[in-house]
Amino acid sequence: MKYMDEYRDERIARRLAAEIARKATQPWVLMEICGGQTHTLMRYGIDELLPKGVEMVHGPGCPVCVTPLETIDKAIEIASRPGTILVSYGDMLRVPGSRTDLFRVKASGGDVRIVYSPMEAVKLARLNPKRQVVFFGVGFETTAPANAMAVWQAKREGLTNFSMLASHVLVPPAIRALLGSPRNRVQGFIAPGHVCTVVGYREYEHIAREFRVPFVVGGFEPVDLLEAISMLVSQLEEGRAEVENQYVRSVSREGNLPAQRIMEEVFDVCDRKWRGVGAIPQSGYRLRPAFADFDADRIFGLERMTAEESSECISAEVLQGLKKPTDCPAFALRCTPHTPLGAPMVSSEGACAAYHQYRRHFAAVPGER
């Protein structure tokens, strides 16, 4: 247990690991959906603390990873046009587009700004009335209300030079798609704690009933994850398929109602393509017609741009829990965090990057640094 000394709550972690080993009488395949949780699992080697039969596979819960290639290309196109400022969360800059990435566009003179909050993008629009300011709006339900608020605020202030390239994704439709696939292996899910902080977990109750699969809403610390895994194993061993909440300190069943209200006012649900996964019906948010003046796709005439993904990257299978990053022939060779071929190698929350960062030595790949 080589990571154990890094736990702050070492005793609790040991107890939980032992509890899981005692309870698990047969093999179970569990998925954490959120990339932040994948990061914690790898950082603390939690998957290695678990008894052999309990396998963790890593879900598609990294918005940076699943933003479609053509949307990255659109952002690059916008950033390359004179007179525009493209504003983005930092994680998006190194995501490879078809030919280049935003970081290189910025290096060669494109005006790309990194912000901490979407409200800073609104402020930039206010301060630069002669420039078109475009916010690259990605994220799951956790981020959607913040991005919605930025658009809402721009409209309220009557800004005519602010728009959003919207590519939001929603978790429950992706889980349904996963469970509906004949290749699915996942038997229980850790539901994402901060997504549920915003939207609550009623939707997950429907999925649990419909597919007879248990969920535990989990936090992001090592002990949170061990506890969530323990609760999932209990449900599976007892034949239950319910939604339980491990992350009570932040999550309620109803979620955050003011955040949900602004999200519903600004966005409506649409079909969305996920990078590496493909199109998932009703799995995204787009701007409602009332906010069409803030839709960068429309303003810049980019609606019809498409792109083909690299054939070498197996991220489709990685993001569906069918393969591990180390199964990919490019892993740590042609694909590294500095030369990413696919998005899961870019973001620190992508499964491939997490494997690369914390357990390179496990990959039996020659020539590795």
Partner: protein
């Protein structure tokens, strides 16, 4: 990208029609929108994601979580926008 960081509300005012506050995270402070947590006031602890408070949490939990996130090196990418820039030595 879905991380939220606990911090303490230091100030609260309405600016451009939005309730905004200064939030303290350890040694640094950042501005955040408080419109989604109408129940929270100065002195309370909230979870903050991309400049928006999304839930109220109690103080002990907040302090413990902050320390753990800090020891995990997970604060920079949320709090400082430049951290994801490879030129500044950010995590992959």
């Amino acid at each position: 990208m879905c991380l939220a960081i606990p911090g303490k509300i230091l100030t609260s005012e309405t600016r451009n029609g939005v309730r905004t506050g200064k939030i303290q995270f350890g040694e640094i402070s950042r501005e955040a929108c408080l419109d989604f947590v109408p129940e929270a006031s100065v002195g309370d602890y909230v979870m903050v994601h991309v400049g928006f408070a999304i839930s109220r949490v109690d103080r002990e939990e907040a302090e413990r979580t902050y320390q753990i996130l800090q020891s995990m090196g997970m604060l920079e990418s949320e709090l400082s926008p430049e951290a994801a820039d490879p030129a500044s030595g950010g995590r992959p």
